[in-house]
């Protein structure tokens, strides 16, 4: 079973629908017992960083998440906000500490080209920097749906930089996919990226 952490933010139902569409047993949950039973953990998200972290904290699941993912090495997939939580801190509506499993900071997008609007909203192609199981059997230059005003910036941290698997361009470099060991993050929405997105989720399910 794949546990989708229901921390009260955003499009959880869509993520569950997508796993159902690829016939992967998944469950929306807030329960520590489910996180312990799960083969893999997904943290989706739409929303503001601070609220998201506060909700996760209030649920009392952060310790369990860390144990299951960092110690027991269950595959983790962070989608959008769930990827951004991997940072050391977020700077959306004030500074909030993140999970810090990867490092870097979450900062507002700063496109150099005025034609590139913020939020970064829409279908963008992704350049794959290095091979990663998550992007197996997608196009060489796949196109995914992005919807965000902030991004995970390695902020000069070489270990975070090394975790960057794919990037997009939106008036600046946008971190699109990260991976370190069993921890995966995608800035785009696989659950809303039609066939290309479902393929990413199938790849994740295979890891579980």
């Amino acid at each position: 079973m794949i546990a989708i952490v229901d921390y009260g933010m955003g499009n959880l139902r869509s993520v569950l629908n997508a796993f159902e569409a690829i016939h992967a047993p998944a469950r929306l949950t807030t329960s520590v017992a489910d996180l312990r039973d799960a083969h893999a953990i997904v943290v989706p998200g739409v929303g503001a960083f601070g609220d998201g972290m506060r909700n996760l904290t209030a649920l009392g699941v952060i310790e369990t998440l860390a144990e299951e993912v960092l110690v027991r090495r269950k595959p983790y997939l962070g989608i959008c906000l769930g990827m951004q939580f991997l940072a050391r801190e977020g700077r959306e509506h004030g500074v909030t500490g993140g999970l810090g499993w990867l490092g870097g900071v979450v900062r507002r997008l700063e496109p150099r080209d005025a034609a590139c609007k913020v939020p970064h909203m829409g279908w963008n192609d992704v350049a794959i920097v290095r091979e990663c199981e998550l992007l197996r059997d997608v196009d060489e230059r796949p196109v995914f749906y992005f919807l965000h005003g902030y991004q995970l910036d390695p902020d000069g941290d070489r270990a975070v930089e090394a975790a960057v698997v794919a990037t997009a361009t939106h008036g600046e470099r946008v971190t699109a996919v990260v991976q370190r060991d069993n921890v995966f993050g995608v800035q785009f929405h696989p659950e809303k990226s039609q066939e290309a997105g479902l393929q990413v989720l199938r790849n994740f399910v295979k890891l579980a």
Partner: protein
């Protein structure tokens, strides 16, 4: 590079999927669930799904919420939902049902603070302010709310600026005068609003042929184009229209 979005607009009135003309007389256009599935299969980049008369009739979001929940179970593409959204709680319900963005219209005009409240809770990226406008070039363009039945006395360009200052992540800009006429978008209106705000503007109202979309993007400076009659009533599909845009040198998926 970001691809230009082509967005079919689906509108409910009295629980039926319809297409209006100038927000007035409406024609039935098919099944509320099957139509989105068809546009999904035809590679629409996003869908906008609105309950047209919810605010006017003082109804809440139930109808659009139910529709979105069904669509999101079948279609894995971005959905913007709206019609009757009056609170941050309504925004949350629609997001939970499977919407990715929520359009706020009348309630945002009555209480602009709602935009910021919702943006702070759910992120600016999912808060769309829908602006329905009457008037023609060279302006002024007036905002109308409650399905085009009330005039709150606002200038459309000014209101767009205010909405963005409050935290709107996108503007869905509809010309009531062009709605359902298939005579082309109001390019001057689009240009005035797109030039006044730094968030994406979706052009809506008037598309009758693929070249109208090219004009809204090139001349109007819209970030994305919405169309309804074009897809409901002509032989154009999102896939065909996007091929036209591609030939015109516009980056599409």
């Amino acid at each position: 590079m970001l691809k230009t979005r082509v967005i079919p607009t689906l509108t409910l009135r009295g629980g039926r999927l319809v297409k209006t003309r100038r927000f007035g007389p409406a024609r039935d256009v098919g099944d509320p669930l099957k139509a989105p599935m068809v546009y999904d299969a035809q590679l629409a980049d996003e869908l906008v799904y609105l309950d047209l008369d919810a605010s006017r009739d003082g109804r809440s979001i139930e109808r659009v919420e139910a529709a979105v929940a069904r669509i999101a179970g079948e279609c894995f593409l971005p959905l913007t939902a709206g019609g009757g959204v009056r609170s941050a709680g309504d925004v949350r319900r629609l997001l939970l049902a499977g919407a990715d963005k929520v359009a706020i219209n009348s309630a945002a005009v009555e209480r602009p603070g709602l935009i910021g409240e919702a943006a702070q809770r759910f992120g600016t990226q999912c808060i769309v302010v829908a602006i329905d406008v009457r008037g023609d070039a060279p302006g002024p363009w007036r905002v109308w709310t409650h399905g085009g039945t009330r005039d709150p006395g606002l200038d459309a360009v000014e209101w767009a600026r205010t909405a963005v200052a409050h935290g709107a992540g996108e503007i869905l800009l509809t010309s009531i005068d062009r709605d359902g006429t298939m005579t082309g978008y109001d390019l001057a209106l689009i240009r005035a609003v797109a030039g006044a705000v730094n968030v994406p503007v979706i052009a809506s109202g008037g598309a009758g042929k693929p070249q109208d979309l090219v004009d809204a993007l090139r001349v109007g400076g819209a970030a994305a184009v919405a169309a309804a009659s074009l897809f409901h009533f002509t032989d154009q599909s999102p896939i065909k229209t996007k091929a036209y845009l591609r030939r015109a040198g516009i980056a599409v998926r």
